[in-house]
Amino acid sequence: MAPAAKAWLVAAWAGYVLAPWYLADPLSALGSGGGLWLGLTRAPWLLPVGLALVAATWPLARGLDRTRAARWLVAAGMGGLAVLWLQGFAVGLSGWGLGLASLLGAPGPAQGGMGLGAAMTATSLLMLFCAGLAGLGWCRGDAFVTSSIGLVVALVGLFVLFPVLTILGSAAGTPGGGASPALFVSRLADPSIWGLGCLAGNGTCGVAWNTLFLAILVGLGTTLLGLAFALIATRTAFRYKKALRLLSLLPIITPPFVIGLALILLFGRSGAVSALLFDVFGVPRSRWIYGLPGILIAQLLAFTPIAFLVLIGVVQGISPSLEEASQTLRARGWVTFATITFPLLRPGLANAFLLGFVESMADFGNPLVLGGNYEVLSTKIFFAIVGASQDQGRAAVLATILLAFTLGAFWVQHAWLGKRSYTTVTGKGDSGLAPPLPRRVAWLCYATAIPWALFTFAVYAIILVGSFVKAMGRDYTPTFEHYLTGFRIEQTPQGLFFSGSAWNSLFVTLKVAVLSAPFTAAIGLLTAYLLTRQTFAGRRAFEFGTMVSFAVPGTVVGISYILAFNVPPVEITGTGLILIICFVFRNMPVAVRSGIASLSQIDKSLDEASHTLGARSFTTVWRVIVPLLRPALVAALVYSFVRAMTAVSAVIFLVSAEYNMATTYIVGRVEAGEFGLAIAYSTALVAVMLVGILLIQLLVGERRLGRRTALAAAPAPALASS
């Protein structure tokens, strides 16, 4: 047995015998203690786990040869995990689960959520199972690879697939705890979801149609705006390209609802512009911004940068020599654009549209702040959970519909666009010069993009100005009042006292962001390594599993985590841990993508050279791959740090009084009408993020290739794929 396997065996026994098996829970009927002790006294269903451990120890005690020991480890690991998982569900919080009550008589024994001991034992069993597989020759007998695959599969299964499946189960669930397909169908067919009243001119349309309509508008709008920006940035001699770039990157480090907030401050009943119009032109103040127009404008502002980043890559990806060829064939500027450039852009446009579409569906903050009577799925799900009705089944059905929409969009993208990529840069020397835009296209782009850029600028100006004045639209007296409310620090005899109301949530947010970023990067890059460098059975399914959480809207993640992790065996709601886990698995696909992009540029023969020089997989990863992956590492760290600071949709379900996040706190301030504090906090948050990004850059450093021009060729961070 390998030394690592022995260490895991020790850890498994330690987890089973020494560490407390259950979460420390004063209400637990079983009390605390190791798994073995509880198994012998009060919880006999824990004893089979011990049997599995004995089986895992057997080959060591008997000194079996490599292959036979490996078979024992595989059997023990698999059996132990199965038993552990089954007992977790069979014995629930309040008696038998899995329908055993009718078989064995209610209520039966009860147990709480698994704790440190159970987690240690489960992890060790998994690692022993993987070590066994390696011993049987899987993945060329490389235990590092089998363990990595096992770990990623287990984590993704537990924290991505299991919650999503729980939603589907819950959508058909009755309040009593059973399941009824008829109830599922009736919930699904609810007229408040699919009604078409607005077409007939009476009443409102169903929430599903609302969501779709909005998403299509946003997809079209962001694509057009993004295209205009991309063409200006790449194909014109526009003087302020740098400013354009900056403006397009700003929304990435802005919590999404902040834009909605700024719109309220501009166009709300007491907004700056509304006040101006009323004072000068006598235009009556109205609530027009609340509803479809407001959400649409806010989402266009928030998601145009994404379309821009996608399309700028596509525009740059068109080989200039194609357009030059067209010109040498006597096609003039406009003809070349219409017959060559634009057709080559089409898949990119479809891609940008789909991203805008999905982002709009998944957006929660803006509809919450600006929605008014215009309901969309993400907010409706939220109110089904937290509102007066508290209908988990209905929330689950709505979440299922939203999930179906987004998964459908990604499926379309994958199935249809996957085969239609016209990226024509081949890596061979291609020294052509892209022609400038035809004049009418250029003017069209300017006419679209420049007003929009000014508008974005105005929005950000409002955010900055608004945080320093008493009340936007009414009282422009300069003040630090909002910052003081949020971030007051008092000098007391005991030392500094952070008495500002925002400190608590800011500290939690920072802690969660700082803790989740390295885990996200590690698991994402590890997955990317497995996907690009290893071949194993089920690789496609593995890839799909790791990318699923990309297509799951935050609201759906939030509700699925509540449904899955509010009860044993894995009971972690209300803790800080669930926030970290949520961010790790939500942001992991971006780390995977950016890792794959970087790894596919690193020749495989580097790994092989390292192997033939006697380095194993782990050493190779550590000494050869990781140093070359620095750009991807920075991208993954920055992305997950920023997302943890700005996301609101999933965490709003998961925060508790003790663990509140900055974004949810700000949303709360907005709902309470404390716009000044909200906006001051948002500004502070953006500043904190900028500092964080700089720190990450500084800590990770840059990839040293000893090449003078290497950095120009380094892949761009994969923020574009968000």
């Binding site: 007998g141 020089l613 006697g614 380095a615 194993r616 990839r703 290739l705 000893g706």
Partner: protein
């Protein structure tokens, strides 16, 4: 580090499958210690897979691989005492030349000072002393190649593998590097397996050549055996561009045979052929071209192309036997296209190819 004696490599019925594709099919061979053996074949014939199987970068689907008499079939690359020089050189771009060469000893757990001493020694061996602090991208292609060789040699492996080491070098440099590799191999008494698709390179450096085709071994032997006694049409064609002509074996006379090729009747070693149609391989050098009809029997043909190449003239001629490729080293004045010629064969470099 102990100096390892060169080891033998033995394949026993080794098969490598990727899904339904068989890359190496039931291959057996032995490479003697201290020899340089070339795996030669067209792309996709399985030669690189065979090399990677020796290195442990691929694990055989069936069969046994022995290195130095020990079974290493399931051993990972890191556990085998085998080093490889990659086609792309695979120099770690984030390390200096010295760190690249010292990588092997370092990951084996040797101290930094000891690893660097070993690396400097090997850099000197390949003639790169003083360049240790450069980054690989600051070296020329030929220098990078030598770094790769130094890095592969630093662990003093039992077996050294080369995967098309010359393919990234320009034509002039190839001949020199080729000679350097052969020189190094003989000086250090190394067992070397060498993959190439260039038959001239293979003939020049090898003790033995293993010709592969369609995942199997087509023939193995010394360069001379392969050139003079090709075992199949494929080998005859692949090594030395033979003209493959249809013939008719008229009479078996012990180990000789009388064979009719067009208008010519020739007497050749029989090589196991029996009466009936046979294929005769004729090297371009063995085709004699006559401007006027000779008195002895000859095949009539016509010049289709003629290329003057300095030391010799290459001809493509059309005849009743099909297009023939001929090299004339005697007369440097090319015959004009369309001129009638008569063909006869030299005594050497004409063989019957077993079917």
């Amino acid at each position: 580090m102990p100096r390892h004696a060169p080891a033998s490599i033995e394949f026993r019925s080794v098969t490598k499958r990727y899904g339904t594709v068989t890359a190496v099919d039931d291959v057996s061979f032995t490479i003697e210690p201290g020899t340089l053996v070339t795996l030669l074949g067209p792309s996709g014939c399985g030669k690189t897979t065979t090399l990677r199987l020796i290195a442990g970068l691929e694990i055989a689907s069936a069969g046994e691989i022995l290195i130095g008499g020990r079974d290493v079939t399931t051993q990972a690359a890191a556990d085998r005492n085998v080093s490889m020089v990659f086609q792309s050189y695979a120099l770690f771009p984030h390390m200096s030349v010295l760190d690249n060469v010292a990588y092997g000893p370092k990951v084996q757990g040797l101290g930094r000072a000891r690893a660097h001493a070993l690396a400097l020694e090997k850099l000197e061996l390949v003639g790169l002393s003083g360049l240790g602090n450069r980054s690989p991208s600051e070296l020329s292609g030929g220098q990078q190649q030598r770094v790769a060789v130094a890095r592969a040699l630093v662990l003093e492996p039992e077996v050294l593998l080369f995967d098309e080491p010359l393919s990234n070098l320009d034509a002039k440099l190839r001949r020199r590097v080729r000679d350097d590799i052969r020189d190094l191999q003989q000086r250090l008494n190394l067992t070397v397996a060498y993959v190439t698709h260039d038959q001239e390179e293979a003939l020049a450096v090898s003790d033995r050549i293993i010709v592969m085709s369609n995942a199997r071994i087509a023939q193995s032997g010394t360069p001379r055996e392969l050139y003079e006694e090709p075992a199949s049409v494929f080998v005859a064609d692949f090594i030395g561009n033979a003209n493959l002509l249809p013939g008719d074996l008229l009479r078996e006379e012990g180990d000789r045979a009388v064979i009719q090729v067009g208008a010519l009747t020739i007497d050749l070693p029989r090589r196991g052929a029996s009466r009936g149609p046979v294929t005769v391989a004729v090297r371009p050098d063995a085709i004699r071209l006559h401007g006027t009809q000779p008195s002895s029997p000859a095949i009539q043909a016509q010049v289709a192309k003629a290329a003057y190449l300095g030391g010799h003239v290459e001809y493509t001629v059309g005849s009743a036997l099909g297009e023939l490729f001929a090299v004339d080293r005697t007369d440097r004045t090319p015959m004009p296209v369309g001129a009638p010629v008569w063909i006869s064969f030299a005594d050497r470099d004409v063989t019957v190819v077993p079917r």
